[in-house]
Amino acid sequence: MKLLESNSLQIKKKIVSRELHSTDIVRHLFERIKNLEPDIQAYITTTEEEALKKAIEIDKKIENNQQVGLLAGIPIAIKDNICTKNISTTCASKILKDFMPPYDAFVTKRLKEEDAIIIGKTNLDEFAMGSSTENSRYKITRNPWNVEYVPGGSSGGSAAAVAADMAFMALGSDTGGSVRQPAALCGIVGVKPTYGRVSRYGLVAFGSSLDQIGTLTKNVKDAAVLLQVIAGYDPRDSTSLQVPVPDYLDNINSGVNGLRIGIPNEYFTEGLHSDVNKAIKDALKIYEKLGANIVYLSLPHTEYAVAVYYIVANAEASSNLARYDGVRYGHRTNNARGIIDMYSRTRSEGFGSEVKRRIMLGNYALSSGYYDAYYLKASKVRTLIKNDFDNAFEKIDCIICPTSPVPGFKVGERANNPLQMYLSDIYTIPANLAGIPGISIPCGFSSDGLPIGMQILGKHFEEKRLLQIAYAFEQETDFHLKKPALRVPLRQR
């Protein structure tokens, strides 16, 4: 097996057992990144020097028989909207070009504590606003399975890096599907935890009541380990909850016998691509074979989810992004006349068009006279959507549905059609509105050879059950082992 194609747990085992040096892996990995980056464009920043330093440190620890962390020696990429102390955090925006946070996000700190090796910051749609990673102010990330296609978004850089073996695992953020959808489009595993499971401290806010940091990994077990590290209460995030974190690897193979799988009728309608539909139906057959029962049900308020999402997320974003004004940090215009002009020019220059569009929509929804009709009403419908899930989960244990309605779309194909772009997240958005956890796992390929993702949604804080359900499927299939045929010749050990 090729070294860089290994999953994280395999690599860690080899490092800890002294079969491999952490430093060697890091060197190989950066060689691959250098080879592939021109085609994939996954990274905004790479941190080879720091990564090597950390690798040397870990190798030394192991040599001295010192205790090492859960992620010892695993090279990991971080989405560039998650703060990393003294490593620039740009959110793929010009307004935060060269912004160097003087603090680590909670999750960054956890990665460091568990001896992970941070290799770089990945590309995203500016401020995580998008579903294709085309809205970055720096580069357009490509899908490793076919570079004419988008990797999904907004965590497209993280997903593409993991899919192309340019990182062993990665962190992303999911506000309306931004972890699960690119995971699906890139053929990897993506977990969006329950709202409040992972601290948002240090995650640059987009939609505060929806944002959650998630994992992008090569398989389910890797996801379990990474989630283990980042989950837990953080007093600096008032919305993180004091719910005990179970051992996610323990009993991961407990199977699905007797599992009640809910299939929402509203998710299998016209906009769904036939290849995706078939892949999901085939997957359900596997689950049935493994002893699960299929229950068809209704989530009646599904049709409102996208509208509600774009009101709530944009309203929160318009406020969250107000702080980028050039006064304290980040980009400031060079030619301002007075403070109002400084604000206006700084923000005009600093933000891209999609971000501006959303700020305007959000401000509109919150403005006096429209608040009740938009934000308040959206909040109420959000409650109805939550109730749909609560009602469903009285009869079932999980919901299975497609992650994305299509296997993928080409770069540029939807760039000028925001509405069509917004519909990319039609199946992922409801989980964010309800705050429930979701996981996307590979479940097949389209006739064009693009990976297809299956989404499993569960009750609040039942990530462990979701991982078990996903693992059962993964054990029966080999979709997750398939690798994209990248045309760049690779020098491998």
């Binding site: 909207n81 946070p101 603090y103 401290y201 919305t239 318009s318």
Partner: protein, 478 residues
């Protein structure tokens, strides 16, 4: 035409917590710019607020003290506007569920008590401060974020005040309640207590409200009164001419003593309030509320009533004593030691307050202890020293922080009541002033006062005046 003035006040009081509302930074006043800041209060990307429970409790305490209905479910809202001193360009405040609503405060004007309704009490974060460079032609301003994030209480009254006396009393009473409950230090010069007024005029007898004008930038209570007086005249003149009053916000110019148009109602900012998603709602249960209620002390007006009833103090004296909680506490501590309320209150009002003024003492940190003042009054009553000497002793007590007994002994100030000693002095004085005795005997009664003065001079003021007078009378009349 005769008009009635209708006035409402919005009060901002910085809470006296040690740390800021949503981060651990110190709230200390007057330190180097931008030394009490952190990523939270600078509004850095990805940073989240965590509520200071103490600040919330302070706010709750004041809301209860103002007899507000307490919203058992309350949360924070974001109030959006762009200003360089506002780090996030939104202020975390309360709008949809204020923590206290429908309260009231009794004020006293010329002995009459009036109830002023409180619309709401809510908690929010303070902004930073812009510093404009003094150099001419400077094309920049600086921002100091030390105050940014300091907990701020907003108290909004109904337009229930009708004249400046009521406004004055409202401000003073509210200030006292803030001090009594110890939620704010109310230092106006440090900006920890600020007011904004809204004023409208209407025809006397009408119950319809006129168009309201809001006045900002009122940096002292004096400014509030002056601005209201100015605005009353301004609006009155306009109405007399038949003009309508524009709904606007005006800025008070303290130096010129006039207000200027700032913005009209149509230009009012749309704050786009919405619930703060980074903070959880605060649920106030019965137990918590009870614990808060237990911490609320007797309020100033109640205390004044009690002083008048129990200690038989005059309205005036009681009013002065309750002016500052520390002073009223000092008085009560004295009375507890020595049951002479009238004498003690006189000493506090006449002498202690004069020393406080002259020496610029801090009432909350007096150099004299209640035991010491009580001891002094007791010594006077026993006749050990005269009241004239007592003033000297008192001054020394303040200066040196010593007990009165120690000063009297040290300076040998004890009053001479020994009749034999005093008689010797009288004999000497009489011998030295034979003419005066003659005058007296001829009927010049005030000649005796001269002799008393001479005897006092001889004893350096220590002779017991009562004994001296009696003996002298006896002597000259025999």
């Amino acid at each position: 035409m005769e008009y009635e003035v209708v006035i409402g006040l919005e009060t901002h009081a910085e809470l006296s917590t040690v740390t800021k509302l949503f981060c651990g930074c110190s709230t200390q006043f007057g330190v180097e710019p931008n030394t009490q800041v952190c990523p939270v209060c600078l509004g850095m990307p990805g940073i989240l607020p965590v509520m200071n429970r103490k600040a919330f409790e302070y706010a709750l305490k004041l809301a209860v003290a103002l007899s507000c209905e307490i919203n058992r479910f309350t949360n924070f809202d974001r109030k959006s506007y762009y200003y360089p001193d506002l780090p996030k360009n939104y202020q975390i405040s309360q709008n949809y569920y204020n923590l206290g609503v429908n309260g009231y405060m009794n004020i006293e004007v010329n002995g009459n008590v009036k109830k002023i309704r409180i619309h709401n009490v809510h908690l929010e974060e303070e902004a930073g401060k812009l510093i404009h460079p003094e150099e001419i032609g400077a094309d920049y301003s600086l921002v100091d974020f030390n105050r940014a994030g300091v907990p701020l209480l907003e108290i909004v009254s109904h337009p229930d005040m009708r004249n400046v006396d009521e406004v004055e009393s409202y401000m003073q009473t509210l200030r006292k309640i803030l001090l009594y409950t110890e939620v704010s230090d109310c230092k106006m010069q440090e900006g920890s207590l600020r007011f904004e007024a809204s004023i409208s005029l209407r025809e006397k007898g009408s119950d319809k409200l006129g168009n309201r004008v809001e006045i900002k930038n009122l940096n002292s209570m004096k400014s509030v009164i002056k601005a209201i007086e100015y605005e009353t005249v301004r609006q009155g003149r306009l109405l007399d001419k038949g003009a309508t009053i524009a709904r606007e916000t005006r800025l008070w110019d303290e130096v010129a003593e006039r207000s200027e148009h700032m913005r009209s109602k149509e230009d009012a900012q749309d704050y786009r309030y919405f619930p703060e998603p980074d903070l959880l709602p605060v649920l106030i249960d019965e137990k918590w509320l009870h614990a808060i209620k237990d911490t609320i002390p007797e309020l100033p007006l109640d205390r004044k009533q009690r002083f008048m009833e129990i200690f038989k103090l005059s309205d005036y004296d009681a009013g002065i004593l309750i002016e500052e909680k520390a002073l009223a506490d000092f008085f009560e501590a004295c009375v507890k030691i020595l049951d002479r309320p009238k004498a003690l209150s006189n000493w506090i009002i006449n002498d202690l307050l004069r020393e406080v003024k002259d020496r610029k003492l801090d009432i909350y940190n007096l150099p004299i202890k209640p035991q010491q003042l009580a001891a002094l009054v007791e010594i006077i009553e026993k006749g050990t020293i005269s009241s004239t000497i007592a003033k000297e002793v008192f001054s020394e007590m303040i200066q040196a922080g010593k007990a009165p007994q120690a000063i009297i002994e040290e300076k040998k100030l004890a009053q001479i009541s020994d009749e034999n000693l005093i008689e010797l002095v009288i004999n000497k004085v009489i011998a030295n002033n034979p003419n005066v005795i003659e005058d007296y005997k001829k009927g010049k009664k005030n000649a005796l006062a001269f002799l008393v003065g001479q005897a006092m001079k001889e004893t350096k003021g220590k002779a017991n005046p009562k004994v001296l007078n009696e003996l002298l009378q006896k002597k000259v009349n025999t």
